[in-house]
Symmetry: C3
Subunit: 319 residues, 3 copies
Amino acid sequence: MTREARTPLLKRQHLLAIDDISPLEAISLLDLAERYVEVSRQTDKRQPVLQGRTQVNLFFEASTRTQSSFEIAGKRLGADVMNMAVATSSVSKGETLLDTAMTINAMQPDFLVVRHQSSGAAELLAQKVSCAVINAGDGQHEHPTQALLDALTIRRHKKGFEGLTVAICGDVLHSRVARSNIHLLNKLGARVRVVAPSTLLPSGIANFGVEVHRSMETGLRGADVVMMLRLQLERMTGAFVPSIREYYRFYSLNADTLKLAKPDAMVMHPGPMNRGIEIDSDVADGVQSVIREQVEMGVAVRMAVLDALSRNLPRGGYA
Amino acid sequence: MTREARTPLLKRQHLLAIDDISPLEAISLLDLAERYVEVSRQTDKRQPVLQGRTQVNLFFEASTRTQSSFEIAGKRLGADVMNMAVATSSVSKGETLLDTAMTINAMQPDFLVVRHQSSGAAELLAQKVSCAVINAGDGQHEHPTQALLDALTIRRHKKGFEGLTVAICGDVLHSRVARSNIHLLNKLGARVRVVAPSTLLPSGIANFGVEVHRSMETGLRGADVVMMLRLQLERMTGAFVPSIREYYRFYSLNADTLKLAKPDAMVMHPGPMNRGIEIDSDVADGVQSVIREQVEMGVAVRMAVLDALSRNLPRGGYA
Amino acid sequence: MTREARTPLLKRQHLLAIDDISPLEAISLLDLAERYVEVSRQTDKRQPVLQGRTQVNLFFEASTRTQSSFEIAGKRLGADVMNMAVATSSVSKGETLLDTAMTINAMQPDFLVVRHQSSGAAELLAQKVSCAVINAGDGQHEHPTQALLDALTIRRHKKGFEGLTVAICGDVLHSRVARSNIHLLNKLGARVRVVAPSTLLPSGIANFGVEVHRSMETGLRGADVVMMLRLQLERMTGAFVPSIREYYRFYSLNADTLKLAKPDAMVMHPGPMNRGIEIDSDVADGVQSVIREQVEMGVAVRMAVLDALSRNLPRGGYA
């Protein structure tokens, strides 16, 4: 973490999607994050490698959890962090997004952490600004730092990814978390299954390199990792599930369904949980759960991503 | 304030209620706060004893005044401060509270400053997290830093507490400020009176070690300190006062009723004031008022509390 | 920017209106701001001349752009910055304003950056507090840092102000930006025109030392700078314009009307823009536009103002 050790780690300027990083780069990020796990457990959690840098968190969708994680990550690295919560107007959202981004860019930030309800928003911004853009979730597209923190959590328990079976269960259709995880876990050599009713699977899911299961019985059998997804009732405009009660009966993770997986299977959830819908409390809080560790890994992974991207920023100043 | 001088000052990990501190510990906190009064009056107000620490302000109830005071206190001590305003959902508040707290705790903060509308919320959190929890007001229960800042303000004018008569007047029923003040002032040796109509007194108030007065005439006679409470109209679900006009007539502090107290009696109010209801502007802004000094003492006391609690946090890092 | 170089630069304690600064002081602020433009383009943007200072941004009106600019400015100078968004109650606004300000003042800030919907609010506050007050926009009165950043942008392109013709076009009536710009540009030696329909001109505008034009044809002819104003539909309580379509037809800046000005005329707008109403996108994003540079200059000017005002704050501490 000394200045001398700050050799380049990533090829790209931005982190917009898992495809922006190679498997080796992903592993390097996880290794760097491990060091930031240790830093965050110390009394003095400051590692001022971003001293004098400006980080702007531009959230068009509210997300207490992700925004806090990025804010703490930036501050522990010594950056000046500014939060901007932006309510999107109902008209000309594209313009609002770009004008807002160009305005912020003119204030010379080094990082723009963006969450937006439209898929592709982060990439659109990245084409227009001179700083590093980090996608903190765009529509139903990607949420790459979530996939990285999930990978870090898995690696700490299972040592590696080769030969692991990861079952991603529930509302895959609306989940950028699922999409980013599928891409990254595939890249790292794990076997990925998705487990969901047909109405909650994106069309063409079979082309993602995953096994598709319609039942927990077959989907969880032999799984090393059970990753539950939040049922995103707020994104559902039609009748995706017959009823919450039926969804619970067939697709929730509880003490019984968890027994279908391997005895040492990890239980994961990106949060916030709908307890009693996609996951039962005794499983969420049980010995196999790593849900709180995921949150801790989130800060460490974001510190690693900010640190890594900062190494690619121009040194002699901006134009 | 040097690192060497940072000897332990408190026995407990948290500050949830006045009962968490002994009279001697309270005096030590006031002494430390006096030094932070001086620091905050300097050009350079930074005393980085919390450098590298993370402070999260978790406010389930809006409070510009208290949150700002804690934010400034933490920043002057060099901590990384993060504000989280959390809107509570109407269902399963207990779960929301705990899940939110556990999520934040996983981000490895050192301090969690909590305000919540339910009595006992801070204590519930403290049982679950590994950091230090400071109660910034929970329901109608306690608000310990308010009592400490009031004590500091009183001590600066009256030198000590022995033999002092403090009249706490108004909406005692809904007031965590009153409750914390009664406990602390009793502990420090002052004589405490409460002055209110029966409808605004909690049942069993006589067991709190206070004199109970139903009229300003008897309650203010000979008082050294007149502490007015905010009439918490927003917390009143029934008919606690016949009318604002009658309340004003019988229980407000104005130039006439203030004459009932000692000529050098201090006028206090925790704010925000309902001018013209529980207190008249000429008294609030008059020479006997220390209301603004209370605000200044608030920052100093919170710096002292943060500093003192930090000395009890684990040194070698967290598990 | 070293401590030794921090000689006094301004005579007054506050920046409430352009009249608070002499032409020479304005030039000094612009010179200092030029240095902060360079600082903000570096990798390490920190110039900790305000280390240990407390800056409070007190915004009674939402303004993402201005508040962000002041926040970044303060943080780059090393100050502890606290944002307070205050919803004004519908009653006794005067009291709310003063009580809020006095409460904050008691927390010993060094700077109070204030935006308020009432003209004169910043001046009222300045009479009551001991810190430096910066007016970030008060009603339809003044917005002095906007005028300074506009002047800096103009000077960078036109070298000086003598002999320049600046056309300020559109909703002059509701614009504190126009008012502050008129005062500053007059002070610096430029010739100022206002171009607007009679309904959007304040009464007595002729006494402001400006040429008044009712048509873009005459108003833009020979202009070196075309400064468009936002049509403040949200402030209009009556029928100020017959229709948006007519306003666009007669008073918008587009490729055709821009040709009326000098071929190298600068196009300015304080933002946020109503694209397609007072300005067309091809002009806003065209080669003559300096709209994004204005935003960049905004941060630099605010750094200069904070730095300059800090030199007048009491050194030995506050009373």
